[in-house]
Homo-oligomer: 459 residues x 2
């Protein structure tokens, strides 16, 4: 391995200077393809900078495709594709990354289907909204009334939740809403019960306010509510319609038990109903808030059911919390785009959204069925499939003597990107590795290629 | 005054029942125009509900135009316009409110000029952005790279701030950014110095994290930095380019003093550069962050300079804070619309935004000059005008023996809406009432009508 002697100047961040000098060495051919770079620690010591600085520089180089990490083996230089350096950068930057990386099929979970998006109808409404005077002002702090009215109508018709526009608060993401909500709840609560495994983003939002976390075990067959009475907190965050990540739903008995518990101890249930729209085997289960809303804070969003990029989430607050929330945040500007809100409201009012949901339920159901049949065909008894009844992803539990890390890296070097699930687990670990596979953005051909590549990589 | 006997049932919010029963009494003509309603306290006592409940009901009735508050005199029924109750509600609801209210000229401060908005060019880009795969995914947690690159270029060219896309964090509003930033800063600081008078929204965002506030006096001629050394906090929030609300700018000597102070005590300056684009008398003053960025957290946004409804704000963080911020929020979803971000990035890349700023500087300058000349003509020595060198509003200090409340109510009953400034003042009160007048959304004719109506109301 070479020694690199860089001269680091004042006036520009050091990580950037390191990044730029490596970039230039690679582009000029002074460091060859597949050559190994010094480790983060070695480089930090030789340059007398922090490891954070060298790590940031390497991360940037990896992100731009100049080098690659190979786990514990270290960092290596990627082969140059000369043409890339002759073209000006393409906007947006992600395109560049995808071109440089050798991923052929990305089972990403942060995407919706683009090919069935009602582009013309959405554009027509969006273009109208831009002519309204409302579009040139700051909006309502708790969200535009027209959207809140549409959400109230939807919640009654589709989720059985009786509410009105005044009890609905619009925010820009579930986490942003949980940060604001947490500010109100911390007056009465210092801890919260969360599912294990469970949505990591919610846990982080609760930790923003230093809530202590208690863990309620969930397994593939459902939640274990028997432990509820041993817990100290009166606050619980759950995903009852489609558990994140297992995909199971709470039975009606479990729902009633949970509501009884909250009423008895005068606690609150935060019900995150994040993707109830896509259930393939039967009607969606009723929301907790449809059974008894007095102790339920209901959360919903349009990220899965329509477009994540809109950044619209919402919550329905029970009365005492609503009063406190409105008092606390009356002088806060809305964090949600007025255009997203007004366009979505009109789109819902015209019936376009419910038509879109119906159409997409079929599209996603076909993709799910196809993916599951491919997985069964190629992997047989070596895997079990979890959560194929709903949602935009499926879990694969692998009965192989390998680690999650190995599975992800093998897939990656064979041109497939899949997601870990270990980030969701706290104490209630799975005996076998579980991989998350999103299918919403892929075509049938891509699904087929992807599963074939996974088989080559893993078996 | 009548006694009202309402039957309040379980199952629906009490304020709503009170609101609905009054609404129905008014619509059916059982309560006549200009009849006085019971006070909030009386009604709460007779119905045995909290004052908050009756206040909420009345607020809703006022918002919908059924009743009006006349300060200490109480609440009165508005005359009915029968046609309004025959039509279905118009989307969005604000139209309804405006139609019902008798405001002829609204000197609102939460709006930008619609008539000069480059609608076609914006639409063309927005429509292109919707065809990109990026638009169907969740975005980058700290903002889309393409927009951060454009902001970095803008900051260097227009504000003299040297930074790069990695040090820029995109958020959806100044307050949302301050809530996240406050989470990082509260590790080292428990109090913050703010300007008095100063932006109330920033104060509220700091109070979200229970920061104690210390007040630095500002008057019409500028900030008083002599008190800085008696303060305990090492953190300060300032608006140096265009003080909110006085409109004064810090001199270069004051800027240097402030930076020296921050370096000496190893504190941080939060520089909110919210509308530096619109300066009418000379070039904008350089940003604090252009002099020495090591102790400066720079905040900017597009709400004044382009469109508030986009909900894009941003900050530039110095290195140690940047590392902490990225570690804390790496698993948080962006709260800013991807469409807003990608469209704005392309709009900036094409040079459209800087052309728009240049055009709007002239438009707003003409409006400001016209408004100031009208005010001088009609009010002469009875007022002084504060802050006409920049921004989208002006302050009027009135040398009349009346209160701010009287001025606002008199204007309102004469068909003009103007804004208070008392909300910005903590201890450093003004001897005379000061009224805030926004002109950005008004035509020349409306400006003329508005000032005439104000003269009738006030003199």
């Amino acid at each position: 391995m070479k020694n690199y002697l860089f001269v680091l100047k004042e006036g520009s961040p050091k990580y950037k200077q390191i990044y730029e000098q490596f970039k230039s060495l690679i582009e000029q051919g002074n460091v060859k393809a597949d050559e190994q770079l010094p480790s983060i620690r070695q480089l930090a010591e030789s340059l007398q900078v922090s490891r954070n600085t060298t790590l940031t520089a390497y991360n940037q180089l990896v992100a731009e495709g100049y080098i690659r990490g190979e786990g514990r083996k270290g960092f290596f230089v990627n082969p140059l594709e000369p043409s890339l350096y002759e073209e000006p950068p393409i906007l947006p930057n992600k395109k560049k990354l995808e071109k440089k990386s050798s991923i052929r099929v990305n089972f990403r979970t942060d995407v919706v289907d683009q090919s069935h998006f009602p582009l013309k109808r959405w554009r027509r409404i969006a273009n109208q909204i831009l002519t309204l005077p409302e579009s040139y002002r700051y909006g309502e702090p708790f969200g535009e009334i027209s959207l809140r009215e549409q959400i109230a109508t939807y919640l009654l018709q589709s989720r059985g939740v009786r509410t009105d526009e005044n009890a609905i608060i619009i925010g820009s993401s579930t986490q942003q809403i949980l940060i604001n909500l947490g500010h109100i709840l911390q007056e009465d609560y210092s801890s919260i019960i969360v599912e294990d495994p469970g949505f990591d983003g919610a846990r982080e939002a609760f930790q923003f306010h230093y809530f202590a976390l208690e863990y309620l075990p969930v397994n593939e067959t459902g939640v274990d509510l028997s432990q509820l009475n041993q817990m100290n907190s009166g606050l619980i965050y759950v995903t009852p319609s489609h558990h994140s990540p297992y995909g199971v739903s709470m039975t009606i008995q479990q729902r009633q038990t949970l509501i009884k518990w909250a009423n008895k101890i005068q606690g609150y249930i935060i019900e995150d109903d994040y993707d109830s729209e896509f259930r393939y085997t039967e009607q969606p289960f009723p929301a907790l808030a449809s059974i008894d809303a007095t102790r339920v804070i209901y959360l919903g969003n349009f990220s899965k059911s329509f477009l994540p990029g809109l950044r619209i989430s919402y919550m329905v607050l029970p009365d005492p919390l609503l009063t406190r929330y409105k008092k606390q945040f009356r002088n806060f500007e809305s964090s949600t785009s007025i255009f997203s809100q007004l366009t979505m409201a009109k789109f819902m009012e015209n019936g376009e959204w419910s038509r879109h949901i119906k159409r997409m339920r079929l599209v996603y159901k076909r993709k799910m069925t196809f993916l599951v049949s491919l997985l069964k065909k190629h992997f047989g008894q070596k895997i079990s499939i979890i959560g194929e009844q709903s949602g935009l992803y499926v879990l694969i539990k692998l009965y192989l003597r390998v680690s999650e890390e190995w599975l992800i890296e093998r897939a990656f070097s064979n041109g497939v990107s899949v997601r870990p699930t270990s980030i969701y687990f706290i104490k209630n670990h799975s005996e076998h590795p579980i991989i998350k596979i999103g299918f919403s953005g892929l075509s049938f051909d891509e699904l087929e290629d992807g599963v074939n590549l996974l088989k080559q990589a893993w078996l």
